[in-house]
C-alpha cells in the first residue's frame, strides 16, 4: 500500500511477468545445464580426438552464447524491471533483505560472461586442458548463479525462520532450497539435451548426426528420473498449506498439474523417440516440438510454484496485492484507502463511489487480475454478480478458499469495490428491486355458527413456509412437499379431540391442481429418485387432494409432502394457495366441519443473488439453468466433484442424497455435513455482519419480495429472523458445532472465520441439529407471558422434536399451531395476498384475526365461558395486539 499501481487493464493479471519470467527461466536453465553439456561434449571429443565432435561443440557454443548471454541475460534484466513496476513493495523486500545475495549472484554472472567469451573465442587457440578448465569454470559459475537466485525464489515460497527473525541466512537456507535446487539442476540437464537437439539435427553427415542426437537424448532422458524424484522431494518438504494449494485447493492447479504431468510424459517420450534413428524430416519437427513442450513444462512448474504461494507473494508475510499480513487489521479498521499512500479518495462517499472503487480495484485486485486480458481476467470471474452478490463474494474471500487474500478494507470500501466492478467494468446497472405490491385475492371464509355447529376443524401448515427449488434439470435442493395438519374438536362444555370415526380430506383451490404443468420436478423425478412419480403426486404419495391420515404419535391428522406449487396453472405467481379441509363422519359421510387453510410455498429462493442467472418466472421467482449450472460448477471447483457434467448427461444432483436432511428424511452418506449445516456454514462466511438481509438473500422474506415469509405476530412486533434464529453467523455456528461434535472435521474449517454475534465466543454457542433443535418459544415467553424488551430466542434449543412448537400441545392435546397458526405466520398474521389469507380459521370461528380463544373467546370450542387457564398459563389474558382486527 506504499506504491502507485500501474493501471494495465487487459495487460495486467501477471501476464507480463509470466511471459518474461517463463522465457527467461527456460533459457536461464539452459545456461546452467548447457554449460555442463558443452564441457562434457568437448571432453568426449578430446578423448576420442574426434574433430567432428569438437566442431559440433564449437558451433553449439556460438548458439549457446547468442541465446543465453544475450536473450537470457537481457530477459533476466527484464524480470527485474517488470517486478519493480508490478510488485514494487515485494521487490523492495527482496532487494533490501537479500542485496548481498544478488550482489554475489552478479559476481558469478560476470564470471559466466568472461569465461564464456574466453571459452568461445579461444576454442582452437588454447591448450585442451586449459580450455576444458575454462568450460568447467563457466559451468560452475552458472550453477552457483542458479543456486543463489533459487535461494531467494524458494524463500518467497517457504520463508521458514526468516518470518520470525528477518535473518538473511534463515531466509536463504529455507526449507525448500535444497529440493528445488536439485529439481532445477536436473531440469537444467534435461533442457541441455532438448536444446542440444537443435544444433545436432543440423549436422549434415547422417551417422554423426545420429550419434550426436543420441548423445543429446541421453542428456534428456538420464536426469529425467532424478528430476521427478526431486520434484517429489519438493512436495514433501512444503508446509501442509502450500502442498494443499498445489494439490488442488487452488483450483487452477488442477488443470496446471494435469498439463504438467502430460507435458513431462510427452517430453520423456519425445526423448525416447529422438534416441531412435529417425529420418531428418521427422527429427527436425520433433526437436522443435520438444523445445516448445519444454517451454510449457517449465511454465507449468513456475506456474505451480506461484500458485502454491497464493495468496501471498512472500508466503506468510506479504499478500499478492502488496499488503503486509501485519497491515490487515489496520486496513480493515481504518480502510485501505486511508492506508494507501497513492490513493486520491481517502474515504468512500456517494459522490466518489466509482472513483474510489477504481482506486480500490487498482490497490487490491489489479496486481493479479487483468480487465479483459488473457490472464486472471476479472470480467468472467465476476460476470455473474450484482452489487450484493459481489460484495458477499468479497466478504468471504480468503476465508474458505485460501488462494485469494481476505478483503482488506472497510465495509463501505467493500461495497464500493463491488459496485465499481459491477457497474463500471461490466456496465451493469444494479436496478433496485421492484417492490411487490400487496394484492387482495378473492377468498371466501367458510361459515361457522357458534350456536349450532358442533365441530371446530383446525388446520395448519407445519412450517409456515415451504420453499421449492425448480432448477431440477441441474439440481434439486427442495422438492415440492408441503405438509398440512389438522385437528377436529367436538364442541361442548368440555370439548373433545376427535380422532376416530372421521375422515378428513383436503383439496387445493381451483387453478393450482396441476403443479406438473409449471414445475419441472416430475420430468426429473425418475433420474433423481430412481422411480417414476406420476405428475402431481408428491414424495409421500399424496396428490393435490386426498385424505389427511391420523398420526397416532403426533396426535394430528396429516397429509405429508403435498406437491403444491407456487405457480398457478394459468400463469403468474402465488405463494399462498388455499386448501379446503373437510371432516366427514366415516360411516354416514355427513360433513361435520369445513375450513380452509393456506399452504405457503415459494420458489423465491435467492441462489441467483450470488450464483448469477435471473428469475425463471415473471422476474420474481424460480431458478434458471444458469444459476443451477453455476452452483454445480462452484461445487465441482471446490470439492472436485463432477456434478455439472453429470447434470448435463441427464443426472441432476439431489443435494440431500449426500448431505443428510432431517426435513426431507434423508440420511445422507454419513460423512458429509448435513445439508442445513453445509449450506449455512458455507454461506455464513460470505454474509457476515448483516442482519436479516443475510437470511433474506436466500430465503423468501425480502421486504420488497413477492413472498414475505415472516408475516405473523412477530413481524408486527418489529422482529425479524434474527430475533429467534440469531444472526447468520450464530445460526451457522450452532449447526456446525453439532456436526463437529459428531466427528465431522469439515465443520471446524467452516467455523474458523465465523465470529458469533449474539454471544461472546464460539464456546458459548450451543450446538443444535437442524429441524429438531429450534428456538423454544418459552425462551422469551416465560410462563407464556409477554417477553422482556431484550429477549432473544437464540441459543436455547428445544431438546427434541417433541418440544417443537409445531409438535407441542397443551394438556388437552390441542397443538400450538392449531390455535396460534403456523410458525412464521402466527395469528394475527398479515398475508400480502389478502388480509385474511393467513387467518382464515380465527376469522371463521371467532370473527377476529387473533389466536383462537384469545380475548376470552372460549366459546369457539367451549359452549360456556371459562375461568381456568387449562390450555396454558396466561391464556385468559387479553392480548396486546389491538391492530389485529
Amino acid at each position: 500500500m506504499n506504491y502507485p499501481v500501474w493501471e494495465l487493464q487487459a495487460w495486467g493479471g501477471g501476464w507480463l511477468i509470466a511471459l518474461i519470467a517463463v522465457v527467461h527461466v527456460y533459457v536461464a536453465h539452459f545456461a546452467v545445464g548447457g554449460g555442463l553439456f558443452l564441457v562434457l561434449t568437448e571432453t568426449m571429443g578430446r578423448r576420442a580426438q574426434d574433430p567432428a565432435v569438437l566442431d559440433y561443440t564449437r558451433r553449439h557454443t556460438k548458439f549457446f552464447l547468442l541465446l543465453t548471454m544475450v536473450f537470457g541475460g537481457l530477459t533476466g534484466v527484464g524480470i527485474w524491471l517488470v517486478i519493480s513496476v508490478l510488485h514494487p513493495a515485494a521487490t523492495s523486500i527482496l532487494i533490501h533483505d537479500f542485496v548481498f545475495a544478488w550482489a554475489t549472484e552478479w559476481v558469478f554472472f560476470l564470471v559466466e560472461i568472461v569465461s564464456l567469451f574466453v571459452y568461445y573465442y579461444t576454442f582452437d587457440k588454447m591448450a585442451p586442458g586449459k580450455h576444458l578448465l575454462v568450460g568447467w569454470i563457466y559451468a560452475g559459475a552458472a550453477w552457483i548463479s542458479l543456486f543463489v537466485v533459487n535461494g531467494v525464489i524458494s524463500y518467497m515460497l517457504t520463508p521458514g525462520g526468516w518470518l520470525g527473525s528477518g535473518d538473511f541466512w534463515q531466509g536463504f537456507f529455507n526449507p525448500s532450497l535444497a529440493p528445488s535446487t536439485a529439481f532445477r539442476t536436473f531440469l537444467a540437464l534435461v533442457l541441455a539435451g532438448v536444446y542440444g537437439f537443435l544444433t545436432a539435427i543440423r549436422i549434415p553427415e547422417p551417422d554423426f548426426r545420429a550419434k550426436m542426437v543420441r548423445w543429446c537424448a541421453g542428456w534428456l532422458l538420464l536426469p529425467f528420473v532424478l528430476m521427478l524424484a526431486a520434484g517429489w522431494w519438493c512436495l514433501e518438504v512444503l508446509p501442509e498449506s502450500v502442498r494443499a494449494m498445489l494439490l488442488g485447493a487452488n483450483p487452477e492447479m488442477v488443470a496446471v498439474g494435469r498439463v504438467g504431468i502430460w507435458l513431462a510424459a510427452a517430453l520423456f517420450l519425445g526423448g525416447l523417440l529422438m534416441a531412435l534413428r529417425l529420418p531428418r524430416a521427422a527429427s527436425l519437427p520433433l526437436a522443435a516440438l520438444l523445445l516448445v513442450i519444454g517451454l510449457f513444462y517449465m511454465g507449468s512448474f513456475e506456474w505451480a510454484r506461484e500458485a502454491g504461494r497464493r495468496p501471498f507473494i512472500i508466503y506468510g508475510h506479504m499478500y499478492s496485492n502488496s499488503l503486509l499480513l501485519s497491515q490487515m487489521p489496520e486496513a480493515k479498521a481504518q480502510g485501505v484507502l486511508k492506508l494507501a499512500r497513492w490513493s486520491q479518495n481517502k474515504e468512500v462517499t456517494d459522490q466518489n463511489r466509482q472513483a474510489a472503487g477504481r482506486e480500490l480495484f487498482n490497490l487490491l485486485c489489479a496486481t493479479c487480475h487483468s480487465v479483459g486480458g488473457p490472464m486472471h481476467d476479472i470480467l468472467p470471474l465476476t460476470a455473474k454478480y450484482g452489487g450484493f452478490g459481489l460484495d458477499s463474494e468479497l466478504d468471504g474471500m480468503g476465508k474458505l478458499l485460501g488462494y485469494m487474500p481476505p478483503f482488506a478494507g472497510a465495509r463501505d470500501e467493500r461495497q464500493a469495490l463491488a459496485d465499481y466492478i459491477v457497474q463500471n467494468l461490466h456496465g451493469k446497472k444494479d436496478e433496485p428491486a421492484v417492490a411487490f405490491k400487496d394484492q387482495e385475492l378473492p377468498l371466501e371464509i367458510p361459515p361457522f355458527d357458534q350456536k349450532k355447529d358442533q365441530y371446530v376443524l383446525l388446520s395448519w401448515n407445519d412450517l409456515g413456509m415451504h420453499c421449492v427449488t425448480d432448477g431440477d434439470q441441474q439440481l434439486l435442493i427442495l422438492p415440492p412437499a408441503n405438509t398440512l395438519q389438522a385437528q377436529l374438536i367436538k364442541r361442548g362444555e368440555s370439548p373433545e379431540l376427535v380422532n376416530e370415526g372421521v375422515e378428513i380430506t383436503y383439496a387445493v383451490e381451483p387453478g393450482h391442481s396441476d403443479p406438473a404443468k409449471r414445475l419441472p420436478f416430475w420430468q426429473y423425478a425418475k433420474a433423481i429418485f430412481g422411480q417414476e412419480l406420476p405428475p402431481g403426486v408428491g414424495l409421500a404419495g399424496k396428490g393435490l387432494n386426498g385424505n389427511l391420515d391420523y398420526d397416532e404419535k403426533l396426535g394430528v391428522f396429516e397429509a405429508k409432502f403435498i406437491p403444491v406449487s407456487p405457480y398457478p396453472d394459468a400463469g403468474g405467481f402465488n405463494p399462498y394457495p388455499i386448501f379446503s379441509i373437510e371432516a366427514k363422519d366415516k360411516q354416514t359421510g355427513q360433513v361435520l366441519a369445513r375450513t380452509k387453510v393456506v399452504a405457503p410455498v415459494s420458489a423465491e429462493v435467492g441462489c441467483r443473488s450470488c450464483h448469477g442467472g435471473g428469475w425463471r418466472v415473471d422476474n420474481i421467482a424460480g431458478m434458471v439453468p444458469a444459476t443451477g449450472e453455476d452452483i454445480l460448477a462452484t461445487h465441482d471447483r471446490i470439492n472436485h466433484t463432477n456434478f455439472k457434467q453429470q447434470a448435463a448427461a441427464g443426472q441432476p444432483i439431489f443435494c440431500a442424497s449426500c448431505h443428510a436432511d432431517p426435513a426431507l428424511g434423508t440420511a445422507g452418506d454419513g460423512k458429509r455435513l448435513n445439508f442445513s449445516t453445509a449450506i449455512h456454514g458455507w454461506h455464513a462466511n460470505y454474509l457476515t455482519q448483516r442482519g436479516a438481509e443475510a437470511c433474506q438473500a436466500c430465503h423468501p422474506d425480502s421486504p420488497s419480495g413477492p413472498t414475505r415469509c415472516l408475516r405473523g405476530l412477530h413481524l408486527e412486533m418489529g422482529q425479524d429472523c434474527t430475533n429467534c434464529h440469531g444472526f447468520l453467523e450464530d445460526h451457522a455456528l450452532a449447526l456446525l458445532k453439532q456436526e463437529q461434535a459428531a466427528g465431522k472435521p469439515q465443520a471446524a474449517e467452516l467455523m474458523r472465520h465465523l465470529q458469533p454475534r449474539t454471544v461472546d465466543s464460539q464456546a458459548k454457542v450451543n450446538p443444535r441439529t437442524p429441524w429438531i433443535n429450534q428456538p423454544d418459544c418459552l425462551n422469551c415467553h416465560q410462563e407464556f407471558a409477554a417477553p422482556g424488551g431484550d429477549a432473544s430466542g437464540f441459543n436455547r434449543w428445544t431438546k427434541g422434536a417433541e418440544e417443537l412448537f409445531r409438535v407441542r400441545g397443551d394438556m388437552a392435546g390441542v397443538k400450538c399451531p392449531a390455535c396460534h397458526g403456523s410458525p412464521h405466520a402466527l395469528y394475527p398474521a398479515k398475508n400480502p395476498y389478502g388480509r385474511d389469507r393467513d387467518v382464515i380459521q380465527p376469522r371463521q370461528y371467532q370473527g377476529t384475526a387473533l389466536p383462537l380463544g384469545a380475548n376470552h373467546n372460549c366459546k369457539v370450542c367451549h359452549t360456556k365461558d371459562m375461568d381456568t387457564e387449562l390450555h396454558h398459563p396466561n391464556s385468559l389474558r387479553m392480548v396486546r395486539s389491538l391492530s389485529a382486527d
Binding site: W6, L16, V85, V107, V118, Y121, W342
Partner: protein, 355 residues
C-alpha cells in the same frame, strides 16, 4: 496532495549506508565506462560506416569486434548500480518506474535489440555491405533510447512534486520532458560517451602503436578528434545543465557549498587538462585525467541527487539491521570472482601463443 506524502516508506538496510553509497558510486563508474565505450563506439562505427562509401575502414571493423563485449560488460556492470540504487533509493526509483512503466520495460527489449544488432554487425560484417549502417544504426538508436529512458526515470525520481501526474495518467506512459534539466542531462551522457569512446579508441591505437602496428596512429587520430569535439560540446552542455538546475541547487555549485563547488570545478578543470593532453597526442595521461574527471563527476552527481532530495528523503534515515555476514560472504565471492576473471583474462591473452 502533498508530494512528500507520496514517498513510499523505505525498507531497512543490512549495513551502514556509507557502504552502499560506495558500492553504488564504484559500480556506476564502471558501468559508465563500459556504457561510454559501447555507445561512443557504436556512434563512431555508424559514422564511419556512413562515410566510407562501401569500403569498411579498419577502424570500423575494429569497433565492430569490440562492441559486443562492450554491450555485455555494460549490461553486466549495470547490475550493481541498479541494485545499490534500489537499496538506497528504491522507494523513489520504483515510483518513477511505475509512472513510466511502459518505457521502463522497453529498456531490456531495446537493449536486447541493440545487443543482437551488435552481434549481427560483428559476425556478418563483410556480408552486410552497406546494410552495416542500417544494422549498427538501429543498434545505436536503441541504445540512445535506453539512455533517454534512464535519464527520464532518474530525473523523475528526484522530483516528487511531478509525481502527482499519476492521478491523471496511471497507464505508465509518462515522459518527464517538462523537466528543464532533462535534455542537458541526457546530452551530458551522450556527449560523454562520444568523448570517452573516442579516447578509448585512441587508447587502442596507442596500444597498437606501441606494438608497431601501423594502424595505431590512425586510430589515435580518429579517437582524439572525437574526444576533443565531444568534450568541447560537453563544456557548453555542462553549462546548460548547470543553469537549468533549480536556483538554490545551482548556487550550491557556484560557491554556495564548498564541497559542491570544488568537486564540480575540479572535475571540469581536469576535463580541460585531459583535453589539452589529448590534443598533444598524450593519450595515456589524457586517459588518466579523464578517469579522474569521471570519478569526480560521478560524486558530483551524487551530491546533486542529495540536494534535490533534501526536502523529502535521505538514505541516511534508513534503519540498519546490522547483519553484516552476508556482506562478508559477498566480499569473499567478489575476491574469488575477481581472481578467476583475472586468471581467465590472462589465459585468454596468452591463447594462441603456446601452440
Amino acid at each position: 496532495m502533498e508530494p512528500g506524502n507520496l514517498i513510499p516508506a523505505a525498507d531497512a538496510i543490512p549495513i551502514a549506508v556509507g557502504w552502499f553509497r560506495l558500492l553504488l558510486l564504484a559500480g556506476f563508474t564502471l558501468h559508465l565506462l563500459a556504457m561510454n565505450a559501447m555507445l561512443g563506439g557504436g556512434v563512431m562505427a555508424l559514422v564511419l560506416s556512413l562515410k566510407d562509401g562501401g569500403q569498411a575502414p579498419p577502424a570500423e571493423h575494429d569497433l565492430a569486434q569490440k562492441i559486443p563485449f562492450a554491450v555485455a560488460l555494460t549490461v553486466n556492470l549495470g547490475v550493481p548500480p541498479l541494485l545499490f540504487l534500489q537499496v538506497l533509493y528504491g522507494n523513489l526509483i520504483y515510483v518513477s518506474a511505475v509512472l513510466m512503466a511502459v518505457w521502463w520495460l522497453a529498456i531490456f527489449l531495446l537493449a536486447m535489440a541493440a545487443y543482437y544488432a551488435a552481434y549481427v554487425y560483428d559476425f556478418k560484417f563483410a556480408a552486410l555491405g552497406r546494410a552495416r549502417s542500417l544494422v549498427i544504426g538501429l543498434g545505436v538508436l536503441c541504445l540512445l533510447a535506453v539512455g533517454f529512458i534512464f535519464s527520464n526515470s532518474l530525473s523523475l525520481m528526484l522530483k516528487p512534486s511531478t509525481w502527482t501526474v499519476y492521478f491523471s495518467n496511471p497507464h505508465g506512459t509518462f515522459w518527464n520532458t517538462a523537466e528543464p534539466t532533462l535534455w542537458p542531462r541526457y546530452l551530458h551522457f551522450v556527449l560523454g560517451s562520444l568523448a570517452v569512446g573516442g579516447l578509448g579508441l585512441a587508447l587502442l591505437g596507442a596500444w597498437r602503436n606501441r606494438r608497431g602496428n601501423p594502424q595505431g596512429r590512425g586510430l589515435i587520430r580518429l579517437g582524439v578528434s572525437w574526444f576533443i569535439w565531444a568534450s568541447l560540446a560537453q563544456m557548453a552542455d555542462g553549462l546548460w545543465f548547470l543553469l537549468s538546475l533549480p536556483r538554490e541547487i545551482m548556487l550550491l555549485f557556484l560557491g554556495g557549498s564548498a564541497a559542491h563547488t570544488s568537486l564540480l570545478w575540479l572535475g571540469a578543470a581536469l576535463g580541460v587538462v585531459a583535453l589539452v593532453l589529448a590534443s598533444k597526442g598524450r593519450v595515456g595521461p589524457a586517459v588518466g585525467a579523464t578517469l579522474a574527471t569521471l570519478v569526480l563527476m560521478v560524486i558530483t552527481r551524487d551530491l546533486l541527487r542529495e540536494a534535490y532530495l533534501r526536502p523529502y528523503f535521505s538514505p541516511e534515515s534508513l534503519p540498519v539491521t546490522g547483519q553484516a555476514s552476508p556482506a562478508l560472504a559477498f566480499l569473499v565471492a567478489l575476491v574469488i570472482g575477481s581472481a578467476l576473471i583475472f586468471w581467465l583474462l590472462r589465459l585468454a591473452a596468452g591463447a594462441g601463443k603456446e601452440s
